[in-house]
Amino acid sequence: MSEPSGHALWQRRMMLAVLLTPALLWLFALIILPHVQLALLSFRERIAPRTYAASLMQYRTFFAEPLYWGVFVRTAIMSALATAMTLLVAFPVAWIIAKVARGRASSLLFVLCLIPFWVSETVRALGWLILLRESGVLPTLLVRLGITAVPVELLYHNATILIGLVYTSLLFMVVPLVSSLESLDNSLIEAAYNLGAKGPAILRQIVIPHAAPGITSGCIVVFMLTLGNYLTPNLLGGKNSQWFTELIYTQFIVRFNWEQGAAFGFLLLALSTAMVALGLRVSGQRFVDVMRRA
């Protein structure tokens, strides 16, 4: 192509601006603007009806009330745990899709991972409820098989929340893993075998380093989704869910305390940002590379 003239260059820039405008407007109107508003909300305090003053009280309340930061820490730990479990479950699945299964079998497996997403998250969680509640399918089955004497309540445990979160997140881990494993040249694995390596060493030295961007991006996506999930912990955890998003919801909708809710929202945003930064640091990845994988 020949060197564009000044006019053509200007035209091209205008074109780019026009094309980008909707995205930028979207970004501004629906992401930046509300966040600015929430930030302002979080830094004020009600001193009398319809009278507010700038204050750090909302954040002070968070740190002063062990309950709030307890739930905060719990949400972070559970999310990290759910992310790790999702990775453990998704990795073999992704490996089979990318390296073992061929053609139709591989697409079929992919579709199997996709099926849970054909119904809404609510329906999915309610499905788990039907399966796990004391009068539900699984406890009844356990009694029939003589494994337990009476039906056991399988809901409302931490393990139940984790299972639900892993199930909900699986696809978001499998997709980046498959794409990063597919790009792994099989001959690298054969070469490692040929040089005397065994399975675990190959996994550690060849497969994982190669898949690192995919693993990191999957973990980031799953962690964020899990941290911000509201329905699954709430429905499956019942009276013991103690998820941070629930506190935010309560502050906003039940307590009409938008100021506190906004502060909680920002703390959650800070948490997820910090965890992502930590994850990138630990895995030695760059954010841009990782997001390209996702």
Partner: protein
């Protein structure tokens, strides 16, 4: 004689729709450079993968250094492999690539670093240990791949067309380097390729493989000058293939007549009776071309024709001549002296060859090689011959 480093006994491998390796037996002498040459799909890759242990044979045995490999996993065989695209580990430094196998054997870090550095020095890459793989040139990577294998001192080094991905100039250069490396290390190399020039230049012995079998094993010279089958004659080096019917057989000499009515004579290889379908092979450099028929040597059969095209390629230059009577296209090497360099398209010339140096095979085997021959003769224009 010492035990061969590699001996293969009645090895068989079938896939659903075809036979990849067909009851194959052979042995490779210690310290030699052994090539397996064949067209793609001939089974050479399957054979190599069975030696490395990535594919299981249906039956038969592979012995390396005298030990049967039947129950030995690929990561425990005294065999290392240089992969087609080298398969260097991009996530590791050059030094870690070379040290990888040592680490798997439990060699400690200091010792590993020392031995990797020493090995890199031997392949001419001193001081490259800390570099990333993608900082190296194609030829340097090749050397790292070899170093990575040889540092483990394997009984056998397998090479799977490692030069295929390189450009022509580098390929020519790496051929020489490979041969020198093999001589310096003395390790037995088993090299597979579809490029006859690589096989001829590098090897002590070459096996020509076709449809899961070896057509012939021999030195490059034997393959070139005494091909045992029509396939070998067609596959190794450029050749003129003249197909027709045997009119008469006189001792060693067969007289054949092409469907277009051209009569040539050639030395018989195997049993041929008058009336058989046959094919004769004449190498371009065996034939001579002269402006005047009287200049041709007396033992040569003489023909006249017209220059159809000039294929100038330095020392490998040739002329394509259309025989006057049958319109058969015949390829003759140009004298390297530069004589006849001014030959023009359309010029009338005389050409001929010594029937004793033309080889005639029965057509049952010859027909099988026909397709390959056509392809190889066409491609042969640019290749170097020994």
């Amino acid at each position: 004689m010492s035990t061969p480093d590699l001996s293969v006994d009645a090895l068989d491998k079938r896939f659903a729709d075809h036979v990849a390796v067909d009851r194959l037996s052979f042995a490779v002498e210690r310290g030699s450079f052994f090539s397996i040459l064949g067209p793609s799909g001939c089974g050479k890759t399957t054979l190599l993968r069975m030696i490395a242990g990535f594919t299981h044979p249906d039956s038969g045995d592979i012995r390396i250094g005298g030990r049967s490999m039947r129950e030995v996993a690929p990561n425990r065989r005294p065999v290392n492999m240089v992969f087609q695209h080298l398969a260097l580990f991009p996530m590791m430094s050059v030094g870690d690539n070379v040290g990888f196998g040592l680490a798997r054997r439990g060699v400690n870090r200091t010792e590993r670093t020392r031995r990797a550095a020493a090995m890199l020095e031997r392949v001419g890459l001193a001081g490259a240990a800390h570099k990333r793989v993608d900082e190296l040139s194609g030829g340097q990577r090749q050397r790292v791949a070899i170093a990575r294998s040889l540092v483990l001192e394997p009984t056998l080094l397998l090479l799977d067309e490692p030069l295929g991905a390189l450009d022509l100039k580098l390929r020519e250069h790496m051929k020489i380097e490979l041969k020198q490396l093999q001589a310096a290390f003395g390790t037995t190399f088993v090299y597979i390729t579809h490029d006859q020039s690589e096989a001829l230049v590098l090897s002590d012995h070459v096996a020509v493989m076709n449809r899961g079998r070896f057509e012939q094993i021999g030195t490059p010279q034997q393959l070139y000058y005494e091909p045992a089958t029509a396939f070998v004659a067609g596959f190794v080096g450029a050749n003129n293939r003249i197909a027709g019917r045997a009119v008469s057989v006189d001792g060693e000499l067969v007289e054949l007549l092409t469907p277009q009515g051209w009569t040539v004579r050639a030395r018989r290889s195997g049993a041929i009776a008058a009336g058989d379908e046959v094919a004769a092979f004449v190498r371009p450099e065996v034939a001579s071309i002269e402006l005047d028929a009287g200049q041709l040597r007396p033992q040569m059969a003489r023909f006249t024709g017209e220059v159809q095209s000039l294929l100038f390629d330095g020392a490998n230059s040739a002329v394509l001549i259309v025989e006057q009577q049958s319109r058969f296209e015949f390829r003759v090497a140009l004298p390297q002296t530069g004589r006849l360099a001014d030959l023009k398209t359309g010029a009338r010339v005389s050409f001929g060859f010594d029937p004793q140096r033309a080889i005639c095979f029965a057509a049952a085997a010859a027909a099988a090689a026909a397709a390959v021959t056509a392809a190889v003769t066409a491609a042969g224009a640019g290749s170097a011959h020994v």
